[in-house]
């Protein structure tokens, strides 16, 4: 029982991390109908920026304080992601309005290539580490309930907490601020939003900026877990089943989908994996999403797809 709970909790926490990446997808898809395959590249780019600036800034300023260096690096990385978002909108997406979904998907793939290339040219292509001072040692919990207690990775726990915080602040931003309302209006109906004077291109830049920030947060958390390296950009592929499971247009869907996928992955790997040779995590997530999709083709919380002839 304790082992089951441990696996379950581990799954929930890694699921939270998936939702963090999935959020980026959902935000952009909702606002502009672009299925952003470059999200993974953005995560890598942001993590590289963060890792390298936190290394360079102490050198440039000649100071030792890790916290201040990280804070500065974070600020610089945010600015970098804003610039990236602005450039993507300005140079590519602006010209691709109203194209088919597949074309847009391919365009974002092209953007992903460019981002990967530029990121590695500027920041280098070795493995870097991000040290934001997250505690690494696991802790025991519920020792009174179970014999031996449950082992919890503190790092994962804090990461999940940060993810939850980000989600809450995002939903406040979307529900309560004028910009958030404008974003939701654009998501609802481009033309109607434009006709009441919401500037579309500015909204898109904002959405990409927000997606950039979620990418940065995801990049920092994943980067401090796994190290910043090229394979970080493939976590987008891990987050895709989360997105379709939750629904492409739903923020809560991304969270709940992430939790389902996280738990499903961990449980399948532990209880099913040994029988079939292990390593089934990645395709199991897709299969799980597929099973849900067979019952609800638009994902759990996605907008119902209505066919009009």
């Amino acid at each position: 029982m304790a082992f089951f709970l441990e696996t379950l909790l581990g799954g929930l926490m890694s699921g939270m991390l998936y939702s963090l990446v999935a959020l980026g997808f959902v935000l952009i898809f909702k606002a502009s109908g672009v299925f952003n395959f470059a999200q993974g590249a953005m995560v890598l780019f942001a993590a590289l920026a963060m890792a390298r600036f936190s290394e360079w800034i102490p050198d440039w300023l000649g100071m030792e304080n890790l916290f201040v260096a990280n804070l500065l690096a974070f600020a610089v990385a945010v600015v970098v992601m804003f610039v990236v978002a602005w450039l993507i909108e300005r140079l590519a997406l602006r010209y691709l309005v109203n194209q088919e979904g597949a074309t847009l998907l391919m365009a974002t793939l092209g953007i992903a290539y460019v981002l990967d290339g530029i990121g590695q040219t500027i920041f280098g292509s070795d493995i870097y580490k991000i040290d934001v001072g997250m505690p690494k040692d696991p802790v025991m919990m519920l020792e009174s309930v179970f014999e031996g207690g449950i082992l919890i990775n503190k790092e994962d726990f804090i990461a999940a907490l940060i993810a939850a915080l980000l989600v809450i602040s995002l939903s406040i931003f979307f529900q309560k601020t004028a910009t958030g309302r404008a974003l939701r209006a654009v998501a609802d109906d481009h033309q109607a939003a434009q006709s009441i004077g919401i500037p579309l291109d500015r909204i898109w830049v904002i959405v990409w900026c927000v997606a950039g920030i979620t990418a940065l947060v995801a990049g920092i958390i994943w980067g401090s877990k796994l190290g910043v390296q090229f394979s970080l950009s493939t976590i987008a592929l891990r987050a895709l089943p989360v997105v379709i499971l939750g629904g492409l247009t739903s923020v809560p869907g991304a969270i709940i989908g992430g939790l389902i996928i996280g738990v499903g992955e961990k449980l399948s790997e532990v209880y099913l994996g040994p029988y079939v040779g292990g390593g089934i995590e990645i395709w199991f997530a897709y299969m799980l999403a597929l099973v849900f999709l067979l019952f609800r083709p638009q994902g759990l919380f996605g907008e119902k797809i209505i066919d009009r002839v």
Binding site: A102, L109, G117, L240, P241, W283, L294
Partner: protein, 358 residues
């Protein structure tokens, strides 16, 4: 002036329904095929065959398969590489497990197995649509990636799924030199392209196109969505399976699952979208673009660097290559979202009127 069809009257249904109804087109196609069979082997050196032409031919075949599904039936797939892998490994198993199996038969059987797998993994398309389906097809990609890496039976207990095939032979003709490989791939490609052309203008192709344009409306006029979607998946996977088997047997010789990873799937989708969705010629244009561009960049960048007196490191070259590749793709999509085939069609329209303005 030379390319126009006025004055050409069709006097029989047969003439009207030819694959290439305009004689200029027909002769141009004959000329191209003849040149590819006879002229190219005389003119081109071995490096060209190995590095460019053989990959180009096989990937064109694969792109044709993807185009049938994505361009003609409107079902976006990101699992094309998986179909290629199934074809390659199935053909390999037929070749080594059945005594005296001819290589060509193994390749075709591999295609059939891929078609069966394609039907299974295409079944969700009956419920799931659009981008959701695109992501769902990734399930096939990751499942087969895993299967060929972990299930030892598929790879005859080879470590890490790497298998190799000796030079294959066809009715006593051993395909070993690059020229042989080129001719063999070209022969198969021509047969399959003719097949696709006829399939697509027949009943089945029209059903696919109806489903692509609006599936509810197609259902209303009596097209069975299940039948036509699944046939599209089957035919497309068959093409991909054959292409995969060729890629393994002819181009690589020895391969591992990574040869058919998700990157391959994305590459194939690129070819179709850059080349032109819903155009057979688009598959060829796209494949040429994607095969030649990286090689071209790889050769050109150090030259350009040395022109400015810069010593360019290989790492930088590969990064700049990726950047230019990505930006060219975005650029192409912005300038001509319907692909090179549309550019070609526009050019042909112009040619028809030339030299008069209207």
């Amino acid at each position: 002036m030379f390319y126009r069809e006025n004055g050409q009257f069709k006097t029989s249904y047969k003439a009207d329904q030819q694959a290439f109804a305009i004689p200029q087109d027909r002769w141009a196609i004959y000329a191209i095929v003849a040149f590819a069979f006879i002229g190219v082997p005389l003119l081109v050196d071995e490096y060209m065959f190995r590095a460019i032409l053989v990959p180009f031919l096989i990937l064109s075949l694969a792109a044709l398969g993807v185009n049938i599904l994505v361009g003609y039936c409107g079902q976006i797939t990101l699992g094309a590489g998986a179909s290629m892998a199934v074809g390659a490994y199935a053909a390999y198993n037929f070749l080594i497990r059945v005594d005296g199996m001819p290589a060509l038969a193994a390749i075709l059987l591999g295609g059939l197995v891929a078609a069966a797998a394609g039907i299974v993994f295409g079944a969700p398309s009956l419920r799931v649509r659009g981008l959701y389906l695109a992501v769902a097809t990734l399930a096939a990609q990751f499942f087969w990636d895993w299967a060929f890496l972990r299930i030892k039976w598929f790879t005859n207990n080879a470590s890490s799924g790497s298998v190799s095939v000796a030079d294959i032979s066809l009715f006593g003709w051993t395909i070993s030199t690059p020229t042989d490989k080129y001719l063999f791939s070209l022969g198969i490609l021509v047969v399959f392209a003719v097949m696709a052309k006829n399939l697509l203008r027949g009943n089945m192709g029209r059903q696919w196109m109806a489903i692509r344009d609006m599936d509810v409306a197609a259902t209303v006029i009596g097209i069975r969505p299940m039948y036509s979607k699944l046939t599209a998946f089957a035919v497309s996977s068959f093409y991909l399976g054959v292409a995969g088997a060729l890629w393994g047997f002819v181009n690589l010789g020895s391969w591992e699952p990574a040869a058919f990873s998700i990157d391959r799937s994305l590459q194939l989708l690129f070819m179709v979208i850059i080349g032109g969705m819903g155009a057979i010629s688009g598959s060829f244009f796209g494949a040429a673009f994607i095969v030649i561009l990286p090689i071209f960049l790889n050769q050109m960048l150090p030259l350009v660097g040395s022109l400015f007196g810069l010593e360019v490191s290989t790492a930088l070259v590969s990064h700049v290559e990726v950047i230019i590749f990505g930006s060219l793709i975005v650029f192409f999509l912005i300038v001509e979202p319907h692909g090179i085939a549309r550019l070609w069609a526009t050019g042909r329209e112009k040619l028809r009127l030339w030299p008069f303005p209207h």
